[in-house]
C-alpha cells in the first residue's frame, strides 16, 4: 500500500475519532500541537494494528515515529515491507 493512502486512512481515523471538527490537519502537522496526547497515540497504534493487521514492534514505539501523519505512514509502510520481505 502506498504512503499516500495510509496517510488518508490515518487522517480519516483522526478526524472521526480523535480530533475536534474544527482542527485542520495535514500529513505534516505536528500531532502534539494539535492536542494529540499519549492516550490518543495508543488509539492510533491500535488502529494501525486493526486496519493493516500489523503489530508495531516494541523497538519501533518511538516518539519520532509518531510526530506526524507522515512519520506514522512511513512506519506502517516499513512494517509492510518487512512483512512482505
Amino acid at each position: 500500500m502506498d504512503t499516500k493512502t495510509i496517510e488518508s486512512d490515518i487522517i480519516l481515523f483522526l478526524k472521526s475519532n480523535i480530533l475536534a471538527e474544527e482542527v485542520v490537519i495535514t500529513p505534516t502537522s505536528v500531532l502534539r500541537d494539535l492536542g494529540v496526547d499519549s492516550f490518543s497515540i495508543v488509539e492510533i497504534i491500535l488502529f494501525i494494528e486493526r486496519k493493516y493487521d500489523r503489530i508495531v514492534p516494541e523497538h519501533q514505539l518511538l516518539p519520532e515515529n509518531f510526530t506526524s501523519i507522515r512519520s506514522i505512514a512511513s512506519l506502517v509502510s516499513q512494517l509492510e515491507k518487512i512483512q512482505i520481505g
Partner: protein, 441 residues
C-alpha cells in the same frame, strides 16, 4: 455595573455520569466531615492593571452569571439529576484580600468549602501581595467542571468576550445520542465485573481510619525549564515514550509505596485516573465533567522499579483502550444517573471496602497552560490546586506552564507526618533526579 444582557441560557442541564460520581463523593465528605472537592486555579499577574481585563470579563461573562444562578435538582429513581437555571439576577462577587506574605494562597481561601448546596458553585478571589503583584483565584466545585473545562473557562475569561451570544452553546454539553438499552446493560455488567476485580480489597493507602478533622495542606514544587526537560528525558528512558504521564504516575505510586513501606503496610495500589472524553484540539463543553477513567492496579511485583511500573501502566492503559474501557465505564456512569445516589454509593464502595483510590492523580501532566496558546500573555504563572477528597485524602497533580512542570501535593495534614513528607521529598528528588524548590501554603 451594567446589567447582564438577556441571553438564551439553558434552563436545565443534566449532570453527566462523571458529575454524578462527584455527587456520590459528597456522601463521603459529609460522612467523614473532611475533604473539599474543590479545584482552584491561581493566575498570577505582575500588577493589578494586567489583571483588569480578566476581572472585567468575570463580571460580564454570561457563563459566570449562569454559574451564579443555578440550583441542583437531585434525581431519584429514573429522574436524572440536573442543574436548574433560576434567573434571580445573582452576580458574582470578587473577594479581595491583602496578603502579608510575598506569595502563596491565604489559608482562609484554601479552607473555604464549596458544597453542592452553595448558592454559587464558582467563586473568585483577588489577592494583593506587598510587591504590587496580584493573583486571581478561581474556585469551583468539581461537580460543575473538570480540569480541561477550567482551562477553557480561563481562556474564555482571558480573551475579549464575543459580541454575539451564539458562543454560549459551545459551553454546554450537547444532547447525547440515544444508544441501545441492551448494549448499555451488557456493557454495564462487563465494566462492573472489571472494576470489582480491579478494585478488590485490600488496597494500600496512606489514609488512616478515624480521621475526621479537616486540615488542608498543599505543597507545590515548581521545576525549571532545564529540570522539566530532564524529567521528560528521564520519563522517556523509563519507557514513557509518548508524554511523561505514565512516568509521573509511576513516581507518585512509588512515593506512596515508600511511605507505606515505612509504616509496614505496603500493598497493592489501585488508581482510577481521569481520561478526557472530549475530542482533542477543539473547545468542547466547559460545564459538566467530560471524563471517564482508566484504572490501574499495581501489585508490589510491579513496584520494584520505575521502569517496571511504567511498563505495567502502559500495558494496562493499552488493554483498556483496546477494549473501549473508558467509553464503557462512561456508559456505566451514565446509567447510574437513573438510580438513587445511595445505591450508586453502595455499589461503588463495596469491592474496595470504601477505598475510593490509593491516592488521587490528575492527568494534566501533558496539558499545557501556555500563554501563547490559550491564555493572555499578562498571566505570569498558573497554579492549579487539585481537590482534596477523603478518602484517600492525598492528591497529586501536575501541570505545565510555559515549558515548566509543576507538581502539587494536596493532603490532609493529619494523614502525613512531617518525617514522612521529608522522605517523600527525598524520593521526589531521587525519582525525578532534579533539584526541587518547595513552596509551602
Amino acid at each position: 455595573m451594567d446589567a447582564m444582557p438577556k441571553y438564551d441560557f439553558p434552563r436545565k442541564v443534566f449532570l453527566s455520569g462523571a458529575d454524578c460520581f462527584h455527587l456520590m463523593l459528597e456522601i463521603n465528605s459529609k460522612k467523614y466531615q473532611t475533604g473539599n472537592n474543590v479545584i482552584r486555579i491561581v493566575l498570577h499577574f505582575n500588577n493589578e492593571d494586567s489583571a483588569l481585563p480578566i476581572l472585567s470579563n468575570i463580571h460580564q461573562s454570561p457563563l459566570v452569571y449562569w454559574f451564579c444562578n443555578i440550583r441542583l435538582v437531585k434525581g431519584f429513581w429514573f429522574q436524572k439529576p440536573h442543574w436548574k437555571f433560576e434567573d434571580q439576577g445573582n452576580t458574582i462577587e470578587i473577594r479581595e484580600h491583602k496578603s502579608t506574605a510575598s506569595t502563596g494562597v491565604p489559608v482562609e481561601i484554601l479552607d473555604r468549602k464549596i458544597t453542592i448546596d452553595n448558592k454559587s458553585q464558582i467563586e473568585f478571589d483577588l489577592i494583593r501581595y506587598p510587591s504590587q503583584k496580584v493573583a486571581i483565584i478561581i474556585s469551583w466545585h468539581h461537580i460543575v467542571m473538570d480540569a480541561r473545562g477550567s482551562r477553557l473557562l480561563t481562556a474564555h475569561l482571558s480573551k475579549p468576550l464575543p459580541s454575539n451570544a451564539s458562543f454560549l452553546t459551545d459551553f454546554f454539553p450537547a444532547k447525547p445520542k440515544r444508544g441501545s438499552l441492551i448494549k448499555y446493560i451488557k456493557n454495564m455488567y462487563e465494566v462492573k465485573h472489571f472494576i470489582e476485580n480491579s478494585s478488590r480489597a485490600p488496597i494500600a493507602t496512606v489514609s488512616q481510619p478515624g480521621i475526621t478533622k479537616r486540615n488542608f495542606k498543599i505543597q507545590s514544587i515548581h521545576f525549571t525549564t532545564r529540570e522539566t526537560e530532564h524529567i521528560d528525558k528521564t520519563a522517556k528512558e523509563n519507557g514513557a515514550r509518548f508524554g511523561a504521564n505514565a512516568f509521573l504516575l509511576a513516581c507518585c505510586a512509588h512515593l506512596v509505596n515508600e511511605i507505606n513501606k515505612m509504616r509496614g503496610s505496603a500493598g497493592t495500589i489501585w488508581l482510577p485516573v481521569p481520561y478526557d472524553g472530549r475530542k482533542r484540539g477543539g473547545n468542547g463543553p466547559i460545564v459538566t465533567n467530560c471524563i471517564s477513567f482508566v484504572f490501574y492496579r499495581l501489585p508490589q511485583s510491579d513496584l520494584t522499579s520505575l521502569q517496571k511500573t511504567v511498563a505495567s501502566i502502559n500495558q494496562q492503559m493499552s488493554d483498556q483502550i483496546k477494549n473501549d474501557g473508558p467509553k464503557k465505564f462512561n456508559m456505566l456512569l451514565d446509567m447510574m444517573r437513573y438510580f438513587p445516589l445511595r445505591l450508586h454509593y453502595f455499589l461503588s464502595n463495596r469491592p474496595s471496602k470504601g477505598m475510593v483510590s490509593s491516592f488521587l492523580y490528575t492527568s494534566a501532566g501533558e496539558d499545557t497552560w501556555d500563554t501563547n496558546r490559550l491564555l493572555t500573555d499578562s498571566i505570569e504563572d498558573v497554579l492549579i490546586i487539585p481537590p482534596l477528597v477523603f478518602p484517600p485524602g492525598l492528591t497529586f497533580s501536575f501541570s505545565r506552564h510555559n515549558n515548566t512542570l509543576r507538581m502539587n501535593i494536596v493532603y490532609c495534614s493529619n494523614i502525613l507526618k512531617e518525617a514522612e513528607l521529608e522522605v517523600m521529598h527525598r524520593h521526589i528528588n531521587r525519582f525525578l533526579e532534579s533539584t526541587v524548590h518547595v513552596e509551602n501554603s
